[in-house]
Symmetry: C2
Subunit: 378 residues, 2 copies
């Protein structure tokens, strides 16, 4: 039996086997043929795709069929804020922004400020709802800074956009029984009725555009694979309501610096996470504590080399900090051969991360005055 | 064992024993002392109170304590539309309007256009959501025609007012488990998640005023007793959120013409219900078919008399069509003594009902141009 792990929208634990998830969830690996088709339209492939970070899909083939018939799609993604944003949160947004650029697509970004409130009330450790709303407001700024086109992007918080969302969520919710969410999300009778209802709200942006324009518009949802369950439940319902089922692209999680499958601030290790507002000193300190695949001594490392798959420093280069495949391969090879030692390896990464964050925060300052162009509320 | 009956927000069946409900629900009869206190402020008592149609309460004493301390209350009631409005629907509104007049109180009227949609989707016989919204719009006009003060009354439909309602409903829903609604409403795992969530929406107007003004305002909810269950669930939660628990006044149901405990258009007998838009001919025909407490022949009736409690004609006089207690007593006494026969008894009532409806529809025409003053939407 494989090592046990859990992947839900509220918890990721254990060593995640993405191949097993693919089978469990009934999603498909992105094969060569599909990638060729995609590349025909995008010119190149995003590093996330080349490196199988974005690795699986639902009905991307159908989406491209429609696109090639002239039926343009829009993009939908989101984030449920529960704390400060960290590097791991950026992945779906960076990828969605790239898709927007390549396809000129509109983007809907949902910030469900109620979701984590409802879940944490269930767990018994919720902050007041207003705190989640404030976190969502901060998230909106970070997300806008990723580089979305303000003319083609709307960011909305559920409680501010509920006049638009609730009516459609009612239609979705009428066709989902408690049995279904119970099984899909592993709830029991002690779940609160807001948490039970919530998945209906997350379904809405996947067909909202079609409601708005009065005819069917294809939708593509780039998301972290832990969110797939919402659409396993909603896709059939959306179909029954008469809309296109959304296509989905799944990304893997950015691992924690300590080696956790998913960077998460709720992890026991406070050094596991790099927040977007960490100071250079804090970043350097955290990376110095990162798990590496190296041997126990410099001598052994030079002799046997390390394992890039187990080395978080290598993984971070792969995920975010070395877009050039040839250069990345050199970094991984150095790790394998033992020609780079942990100290310099980490120092280099820390420099790159700090440069990335500095650059990000500059963009964020620039986007600040334009933020209202992105925000949609009733 | 008492005859079996059921009273839920979605179904009323059997011969309702209001005394049993009082015990089951843990509500209290309106006693003499409370009525004296109420009368001190209102000058007189509404016929519904004098005739024990409004018969029970939760914490009316507390509400009057607050009022006497200068802490004024607001009123909240509502109607979930599922079809055309009939006479039975008017009771809580007529009573609420009277309270508004006597206390100068603000009134919040909720028209949850999603409620019956969600329930009927569960039952498998729902109309599209838009149809319930149209019914709610028609209901708004009928309700305004009851005579509410447009300056002190807001009428809102859930899907149009969801930006305001949903945020607060989330807070309520976070503290209600599926176990609780399952037991309270008799749901099972095949209930849809919208129906499960809905009770949170109905709770909101009971404390919304307090949210708006930033301090606690007492709330009084006049309602049909079938709605009490929502507040059995919500009152504790509202208290935990830091607001006053609402006080409640319960009314009995206007019976159907055929003797059903509650006038309802879903009953098998289409002659059971008098709609607000029934023509005089239809009203007369329906009343001619009404159940009376009379003996099987005119001879026997003259000899033994009838039973006003079982005579729907008498009941209709008591509920709505003879405000004067002395005159009502004469009507009931004539029934008891057998000095009035079914034919004239019914003909008289039909005249009164038609006069009432004609008058009501005139008022409705007059209120039409002012309706927008009542409607609140986000």
């Amino acid at each position: 039996m494989a090592e046990e792990f859990e992947v839900t929208p509220w918890n990721v634990e254990g060593k995640v086997d993405y191949g097993v998830l693919e089978k469990q969830f009934g999603i498909k690996e992105l094969n060569k043929e599909l990638l060729e088709r995609l590349k025909k339209h995008t010119g190149d492939l995003h590093p996330f795709i080349r490196r199988k970070i974005v690795f699986a899909h639902r009905e991307l083939g159908w989406l491209l069929d429609e696109y090639e018939k002239g039926n343009r799609f829009y993009l939908y993604t989101g984030l449920a804020p529960s704390g400060e944003m960290h590097l791991g949160h950026l992945l779906p947004f960076m990828f969605t922004q790239w898709l927007q650029e390549k396809f000129g697509a509109e983007v809907y970004i949902q910030l469900p400020d109620e979701e984590k409130f409802l879940f944490h009330t269930y767990k018994g450790d919720a902050k007041p709802l207003e705190e989640y709303h404030k976190l969502a407001e901060k998230a909106a700024l970070n997300i806008a800074a990723v580089g979305f086109d303000p003319k083609k992007t709307r960011i909305f918080m559920d409680t501010d956009y509920a006049k638009t969302l609730y009516k459609q969520a009612v239609r979705v919710s009428s066709r989902i029984t408690f049995s279904v969410v119970k099984d899909a999300f592993g709830m029991d009778n002690s779940a609160n009725i807001g948490w039970i209802f919530y998945t209906s709200m997350q379904a809405v942006p996947a067909f909202l555009k079609s409601v708005e324009v009065g005819h069917n518009v294809p939708c593509l949802i780039p998301l972290g694979i832990d969110q797939d369950v919402h659409f396993r439940v909603a896709r059939d319902v959306i179909g029954k309501l008469g809309y296109y089922k959304p296509a989905i692209l799944h990304n893997k999680f950015l691992p924690g610096l300590g080696g956790d499958a998913k960077m998460s601030q709720s992890a026991d290790n406070p050094l596991n996470v790099i927040f977007l507002d960490d100071s250079p000193e804090v970043v350097t300190k955290k990376i110095n504590h990162a798990l590496t695949g190296q041997q126990s001594t410099a001598e052994l490392q030079k002799k046997h080399g390390g394992d890039p798959d187990k080395c978080m420093v290598c993984q971070y280069y792969k995920f975010l900090f070395e877009p050039d495949d040839t250069k990345l391969e050199k970094i991984l090879e150095a790790e394998r051969r033992g020609t780079v030692l942990a100290g310099e390896h980490k120092a280099d990464l820390a420099k790159r991360v700090n440069r990335f964050l500095e650059d990000f925060r500059k963009k964020r300052e620039l986007v600040g005055p334009k933020l209202s162009q992105f925000i949609k509320a009733d």
